[in-house]
């Protein structure tokens, strides 16, 4: 495990680790904004809605005579259907009879169902490479090729660059949406940009963590960082660090324990970091809260005496 942590477990293992870390970094940073803007659920729906696009891109690529297994091609398909699902959820909620959460749940489950149908078609075809597709459900980091890791790193870098460029207006939006729109900030465009960033991160995470659990890397490190600091730049940096660290440690653990699925292990490491932050945060942690309560009780007893 030590070898895996220090990138000395061979070329392939280092490629996998680098790809996952790049994704964890971007997911942590972008996730911070997704969490604070209340977009966790829509991110989950978008992730599940990549399945029909990925399977559809495979089928279309096959029909057009392209290489249907090329990761950028599959991710492009996934990005398209994920965007459509977000639009569909908005349209369904617009009437007012159906609330946001139910509309998003419908978009998530129906598009995943369509993906399951297309996936079953792909699996019935007499061609190779389908295993890579169902690997996108829960991630198959071990099967990552160098080109895939580069794709993930590029997607993550683009996400970080856009985030950096929009940091100021996005902070203003999170701090006070009403004030931001009064001050002339394009709130709608910023929300669309945030959705786009979220989508990029989700796509980058498919090969590593898979579409079922990728949302965890957006919200869990961010929630842990929020327990430790209230300042947005510090929270984003901390969250990015937690994301990258969870990915790094998760990859190393699953390399040491044969059979352990990398994506799920990364998620569990992130959850463990969150649990530690919840217990030990100086301001908002459970231990600190119990201490304060005990101090209060002691003071009350002393006063009563």
């Amino acid at each position: 495990m030590w070898e895996a942590l220090t990138f000395q477990a061979g070329h392939n293992a280092a490629v996998v680790a680098a790809g996952c870390i790049a994704f964890g970094l971007a997911a942590g940073a972008v996730g911070c904004f997704v969490l604070l803007r209340g977009r966790a659920l829509i991110a989950d729906a978008a992730a599940h809605a990549t399945l029909p696009g990925v399977a559809g891109a495979f089928l279309l690529g096959l029909a057009l005579g392209l290489d249907p297994r090329a990761l950028p091609w599959l991710l492009a398909g996934g990005g398209l259907t994920a965007s459509l699902a977000v639009l569909a959820a908005n349209a369904l909620a617009r009437g007012g009879r159906v609330k946001d959460d139910a509309a998003i749940a419908v978009a998530l489950s129906v598009s995943f169902g369509l993906g399951a149908v297309l996936l079953s078609v792909v699996q019935a075809l007499p061609v190779g490479g389908q295993a890579g597709l169902s690997g996108l459900l829960l991630g198959r980091a071990a099967g990552m090729a160098e080109a895939d890791a580069w794709t993930m790193a590029a997607v993550a870098l683009v996400a970080l660059a856009v985030l950096g460029a929009l940091l100021r207006p996005l902070s203003a939006l999170l701090f006070d949406p009403l004030q931001a729109s009064l001050a002339g900030l394009p709130v709608k465009a910023l929300d669309v940009a945030l959705l786009g960033l979220m989508l990029l991160v989700v796509l980058a995470g498919l090969p590593a963590v898979g579409l079922v659990l990728v949302v965890a890397l957006l919200i869990v490190p961010a929630a842990a960082a929020r327990l430790l600091t209230a300042r947005l730049p510090a929270m984003a940096a901390l969250s990015a660090g937690f994301g990258a660290g969870s990915a790094h440690l998760g990859v190393a653990i699953s390399a040491a324990a044969p059979g352990a699925p990398t994506g799920a292990v990364i998620v569990l490491v992130a959850v463990a970091v969150f649990a530690l932050a919840l217990l030990a945060s100086p301001r908002r942690g459970l231990v600190a809260a119990l201490r304060r309560r005990a101090a209060l009780l002691a003071a009350a007893r002393a006063a009563a005496r």
């Binding site: 419908v106 489950s109 129906v110 169902s134 965890a216 869990v220 327990l227 699925p261 569990l268 919840l278």
Partner: protein, 298 residues
């Protein structure tokens, strides 16, 4: 092989699982807790796997107990996180159910799964196609006790839940309506929504386990949300909401399985597409139709 042997059991399983989930989904939708369905459908996985691990049996009882325990643990944790960490309910649920689901995945993939004969693809995508009834020789088998005894046990579980949930609605009709429309009034009048909510959560966990075997963890969510959403778009009263959702549930279950099996055959293909996926797709078409109809009528 006949229709009775190959298609009858998946058809019934999908219809009854959708019925049980769809009815309970009404209460989730009306109390704005559709998210809870998503959380519970994921959270039951480690409960089921741990029950296998502890008892070593595939019986329904330990599996249901494990699932209900996991659902309560998840709900409790969500409560702790929203209060202690001051997270929004959607973020708290996201953390809890992805953590639970990840535990289930790790347990399954590191060997326990092979022992309990539970395949991750089936967990995610359903296993309707494996619910065959080889003992059936034709429709007459429905009256043959020996053949009936060889029905897949999953169908019996789904059937029992599909009977129990409508009975629950009949027995607690007024109380559930109050819970759905005016929980504050219900609390003031001394009626116990807390106990009722707990009962609902237990029923939800049991229905999720039943649906889990038929359509898988993620498409269980379709069975929970699609029927109530269609009914909500088309109706204005509680009674009509429940009735329409029940009809929609049966239609999406039957339509999905029939389309999945019949459509490729009609196209002259010898493969079948995912029945569970098709159930959700039919549900999506129904939501689209209801949304358009609702707009027509203003």
């Amino acid at each position: 092989m006949s229709f009775a042997a190959l298609d009858l059991v998946p058809l019934l399983a999908a219809m009854l699982a959708c019925l049980a989930c769809g009815l309970l989904g009404n209460l989730l939708l009306l109390t704005r807790q559709s998210l809870l369905g998503d959380a519970v459908s994921h959270a039951v996985l480690p409960g089921i796997v741990l029950a296998f691990l502890v008892t070593g049996s595939r019986d329904a009882a330990p599996m249901l107990a494990g699932a209900v325990a996991a659902a309560f643990a998840a709900a409790l944790l969500v409560g702790v996180l929203t209060r202690a960490a001051r997270l929004s309910p959607q973020a708290a649920m996201g953390i809890v159910f992805s953590g639970f689901f990840a535990v289930g995945v790790v347990l399954l993939e590191t060997g326990v799964g092979r022992r309990v004969d539970l395949d991750l693809d089936h967990v995610l995508l359903g296993q309707l196609d494996t619910l065959v009834w080889p003992a059936a020789t034709g429709w007459a088998s429905l009256l043959d006790p020996d053949a009936l005894a060889a029905l897949p046990p999953e169908l019996l579980l789904i059937g029992a839940v599909a009977v129990a949930v409508p009975l629950l609605f009949a027995a607690l009709w007024k109380e559930l309506r109050l819970l759905a429309f005016d929980p504050d009034f219900a609390a003031v009048t001394g009626f116990a929504p807390r106990a009722l909510s707990a009962l609902l959560l237990a029923a939800l966990a049991v229905a999720c386990v039943a649906a889990f075997w038929a359509v898988g963890a993620i498409l269980t969510l379709a069975a929970l949300v699609v029927p109530p959403v269609v009914a909500r778009l088309l109706t204005r009263s509680y009674r009509a909401q429940v009735l329409v959702s029940a009809i929609v549930a049966l239609v999406m279950g039957a339509g999905g399985v029939l389309l999945a099996g019949v459509l490729p055959a009609a196209l002259g293909q010898d493969w079948a597409v995912s029945g569970a996926g098709m159930v959700a797709v039919v549900g999506g078409v129904l939501v689209l139709a209801a949304r358009l109809a609702a707009r027509e009528s203003g």
